[in-house]
């Protein structure tokens, strides 16, 4: 195989990796802080893309305002879900969170499908990238669509900022304190449940952002998050559940490995991530960056 093709595959892998990273980062934030396994993450990603599409159809909003507005709206939906539904399950087995969000996934997907068919008369819609990002850019060794490079860059920035806020700032320490010892944190005068809702909202907004970014590449479709969420779960297992840095690094790495693997042997494309997961589980059941289960 020639180097040119390999490089293109690496870049394509980074694009997929950007979505894995953003999604598993959101899952890691939500799980690491709140011990909620949000199966709905894929559906919320789809909701981000759908919101961008709907904002464009209804109000003529372009890509840039949607890139800001759609994650905020989806994050808001997430906060409502946390307050209204998920908070009722705190104290029960975490499995119930998984089951509830699974049900919500089925519900959301089919609702969006009904709305798309009923209101917009389409079941799947293309979404065009903004003018400034259309066309290709010549990197000297490879020619690559501008928009895809933008996705890689923005996702990297967002991941780094999120990691920085959680690990290095006062806000991060408040969040960690709220979740590790809510009683003591409350004694310091911090409204823990409000922070919990906020964290959930941020995690969900990350999924919404990924959705808007994905819309011009994969087009908007009610089930676009369905397969992606499963791959993201595998990424989370490989990276180590709840590890912020682990999810970002593993996200990009899995994207690249799967793309390169597909170039070498095409049928393996979709299964490679699960094979990787099985191998990692054999050697390190708690994932590459995860702490052993007892230590969590």
């Amino acid at each position: 195989m020639n180097t040119q093709l390999l490089l293109i595959q690496v870049f394509n892998g980074l694009v997929n990796g950007a979505f894995y990273a953003l999604l598993s980062l959101g899952l890691a934030v939500i799980f690491g802080m709140l011990r909620i396994v949000n199966f709905m993450h894929g559906a919320l990603y789809m909701l981000g893309a759908f919101t961008a599409f709907a904002l464009g159809q209804l109000f003529g909003l372009g890509f840039w305002p949607s890139l800001l507005l759609a994650p905020l709206l989806v994050g808001g939906v997430g906060m409502l879900l946390e307050r209204g539904l998920l908070s009722r399950l705190y104290g029960l087995e975490p499995s119930y969170n998984l089951l509830l969000t699974f049900g919500l996934t089925l519900l959301t997907q089919d609702l969006v499908k009904q709305v798309m068919l009923g209101r917009f008369a389409v079941s799947s819609a293309p979404y065009s990238p903004p003018e400034a990002l259309s066309g290709v850019v010549n990197l000297g060794f490879v020619v690559f669509p501008k928009y895809r490079l933008f996705v890689i860059a923005l996702s990297l920035v967002v991941c780094l900022v999120t990691w920085f806020v959680i690990e290095k700032t006062r806000v991060g320490s408040i969040i960690r304190a709220s979740t590790e010892n809510p009683v003591v944190t409350r004694a310091f005068g911090i409204d823990v449940s409000r922070w919990v809702t906020g964290v959930f909202g941020v995690g969900v907004a990350l999924a919404g952002l990924a959705g808007v970014l994905a819309a011009p590449i994969y087009s908007v479709e009610p089930y676009m998050g369905a397969e992606l969420i499963i791959t993201t779960f595998a990424v989370v297992v490989i990276g180590g559940m709840g590890s912020i840095l682990g999810s970002v690094i593993t996200g990009f790495a899995v994207g690249v490995l799967a793309a390169v693997g597909a170039a070498v042997y095409p049928p393996i494309a979709n299964t490679l991530v699960f094979i990787l997961m099985a191998l990692v589980l054999l050697v390190r059941p708690s994932g590459l960056f995860g702490l052993p289960e007892g230590a969590r």
Partner: protein, 318 residues
């Protein structure tokens, strides 16, 4: 353990209740194909056994498998493949079921070392791997088209083109599978299994090896799910990618929850309710996903005991 306890008067009511459930369910299943059309009745049997198999793992071992479609689907495909290659019905059913068991060995080995949510995600990922294989291995599975039009040659003078005949054959298989599940739960093994579920450390400290119990429970559950999957193929005469989809794994969870976990009878009732409801809604042209999702959400939020669990709870309190 329970064997040491003499059946005193205090234990009797529970036994009577259990016998009543057993007889009630038995009679219901015997007359079912005369009440609704036989293929739907057969669906209830297959999904019911699938849900019982799932409950064996979830309810009695505390392991929420989100990938049981892998065993159901593998068996469904293998059964279809064997029938399509001229094998007799008993061979195809056994082949499918054993195929599910064979797949379960490595999957169980890798997944039961983890617990809780981790276990769920790992089983889900393995099931997805099976689903991709089914999509790509078109020689075996027919890919997007699935498999259909395979023969179901008659055995012992039983004409399998008749849906009623197929139903009663499956009822016998269902009874066999249900008996295995019932015996497992009520055996010393089942007691130890539940002890491991309630407190792994305590079970370990009295000398049980948690890994072995979870591993074995997983194999039994996957094998029964396989039997159910081959019943499904046998009943319908078609297999599509739907049998390995992750929504299938989720649906069996919903049926079990709706009926009531750890009740054994519940999953069958749950499967029946979901399939009947779906049958009504499909004819009414109502989107199935919305209904499924809504039932899921309502059951998890407000009805965690399920139908049979609620009735049992109510009977016990009287």
């Amino acid at each position: 353990m329970s064997a040491a306890v003499t059946p005193t008067a205090r234990r009797d009511p529970q036994r009577t209740v259990r016998a009543a459930w057993l007889i009630g369910l038995g009679v219901l299943l015997l007359v079912l194909p005369h009440l609704i059309y036989p293929v739907l009745a057969l669906d209830i049997l297959a999904w019911g056994l699938f849900a019982v198999a799932f409950d064996l793992l979830f309810g009695f071992s505390g392991l929420l498998s989100f990938g049981h479609a892998a065993f159901w689907g593998t068996s469904a495909y293998l059964t279809a493949f064997l029938l399509g290659h001229g094998q007799s019905v008993p061979v195809a059913l056994a082949g499918g079921t054993l195929g599910a068991l064979a797949l379960a060995v490595p999957v169980a080995f890798l997944s039961v070392r983890s617990s809780g949510i981790y276990f769920s995600m790992i089983t889900l990922a393995f099931a997805q791997m099976v689903s991709f294989l089914a999509l790509q291995w078109t020689d075996l599975t027919g890919g997007e088209n699935g498999l259909q039009g395979f023969a179901r040659p008659s055995v012992l003078g039983l004409d399998f083109s008749n849906a009623q005949v197929r139903y009663y054959v499956c009822l016998a298989l269902f009874a066999l599978g249900f008996a295995v599940a019932y015996r497992t739960v009520r055996s010393p093994f089942g007691q130890a299994q539940q002890a491991v579920r309630d407190s792994e450390n305590r079970a370990q400290s009295v000398g049980y090896n948690p890994f072995r119990f979870k591993f074995t429970a997983f194999l039994i559950s996957a094998t029964l799910a396989g039997l159910a999957g081959s019943m499904y193929t046998f009943g319908h005469g078609v297999v599509s990618l739907e049998v390995v989809n992750w929504r299938t794994s989720g649906e069996v969870v919903m049926m079990t929850l709706l009926g009531g976990t750890t009740t054994l009878f519940g999953p069958v009732i749950g499967a029946g309710l979901v399939l009947l409801l779906r049958d009504v809604l499909t004819t009414a042209n109502f989107p199935v996903g919305i209904m499924t999702g809504l039932v899921f959400v309502l059951v998890v939020l407000f009805f965690r005991r399920g139908v049979v669990g609620t009735v049992q709870h109510w009977l016990r309190r009287r």
